[in-house]
Amino acid sequence: MTSATSTAARPRHSAYTRRRGRAGLAFVTPFMIIYTLFMIVPVLFAVYDSLYTTRLIGGTSFSGFANYATVLGSGPFWGGVVRVIIFGAIQIPVMLAIAFFFSSVFDLGLTKFGRVFRAIYFIPFAVPIVVSSLMWGFLFDPGYGPFNHVMDALGFSNFNWLSPALVLPAIIIIAVWEWTGYNSIILYTALKSVPRDVVEAAILDDTPLWRIVLRIKLPMVRPAIIMLIFINAIGATQLFIEPTILNNYQAGVITNTWTPVMDIYSTSIQSGEYQLGAAMAVVLAVIVVAISVASLAFRRNQRELA
């Protein structure tokens, strides 16, 4: 890496600039080495591996896009993709609406004990998702879970949060519980940076408070909200731990292809079809990259409009 800087003859630059350049490279090199070995190399290897197929007889041979054809034609895989899209399409708006509501209340000082509430709301961020799923699994358990008893008491007999129809809503509740605090802290910070005089001017004009929130504050934190939508969308494509853990409370409801990542895990690790699993991981990565590129393009567009 150092040869790249020293062999390049660049008379414009003084010896001092070159020395500083080398120092800069030295600062970033430790990270770049670990990053290359444990992020870039594995991803490239997965792409390479996905082009091969191992057969019981005949060993491993190049198979071109055969694995991709299998993935793209796989009903369960796309079923999982559709499921996480439905999950994200409900969970993200619900969570962001709740997060925006509370961050506005905190920002305007409309509640007592705001600091205490903010600290409490942030707690789930410190809870491992395995443990969140464990706790909620106990609460939702059809046998002894208090939440089914509550529904029973409300007149819904034999209510089961973990039944095939309700397990997705149950997971949405868990995800809202996990991420609302984190998202509302981010929105709160964004709202705090809205200039105070804008709001003061609106108050002097006798603008009602809800209008100030929805017509003045909300548009000003739109960039943060848009970023949160995309970040949470990428998170939704990765849904894995909650369904995997809940599966232990109610066997048979959640299949091992329930979400794309569950499919990747069971195909590559449990069934040992590594190359097919790698192809699935690449396809999912392409979906994630597409979401990211869309977000960057969207942001650039927004900036030009502004």
């Binding site: 600062f27 000082g109 410190a126 443990v131 969140s132 609460l139 964004a190 009602p208 991981a281």
Partner: protein
Amino acid sequence: MKDAADEDDGIPVEFYGLRRGTVTALTIICALFALFTLIPIIWLIINSTKTQANIFETFGFWFARPFALFHTFANLFTDVDGDGIFAQWFANTVIYSVVSGVGATILAALAGYGFARFRFRGSRFLFAMIIAGLLVPITLVAVPLFLVYAKVHLINSMAGMILPSMVYPVGVYLMRTYVELSIPEEITDAARVDGASEFRIFFRIVLPLMVPGLMTVLLLSIAATWNNYILPLIIFSNNSLFPGTVGIGLWLQHVGGSGDTNLYPLLVLSGLVMIIPMIALFAVLQRYWRGGMLLGSVAN
């Protein structure tokens, strides 16, 4: 970096022209959501004191005799069902998170400073590569890592868990922003004029000024490894190397399979044991915590 979240210079509520009782009503709504947030944790705390029979048969949100907390706690140190010892899994979690958290923070501090204050050939390209890495979730890298580990014999090794956990691109991004915004260039320039070497400048002058940012990155990177499930699940087949998350997952699988094990109290208490250190860490490091940096991590 000034942290807006810690200030309270809001407009006095009286100026909003609200109906009487609005603040009270909103406080009640906030309290209800706080209750929703705390319910699972309250359940966990209460039930960590119960016997297995009482977990199933008594009201979930109140205590029941006998008080079994100490008995269950002792069982965390024994191999109850042949899967492994929770105390060891917990110790593994601590080792993985602390070592990789400290490593990730050091690497991020060095790289963030390098990208913030130096221009060199390829610096823009390398930084763009790191930004691309921000968007790749660890879940997607886990299976590829497994494929590579199988070739280089890193399956079932602590290094195989710790080294990839040191890759924390968010940290590099946050540290770069932090240096740009809160470390005046005049200070480092003055030291350069005095003839100090670049590394001396970094360790003696810049690093001490970076402490609040470092603490935030340390906290976030420790939490990321502490909570990681899929990577250790994939790369470890040797139970004694499991972190707490994977151990809990394994126990749950056995409970789901047979149903009549005596693992329930252990599951409840181990969940609680996994939560407490993280909440304590956030509480202790709160004065360094820059919640505002989270905004930087998404809305760059």
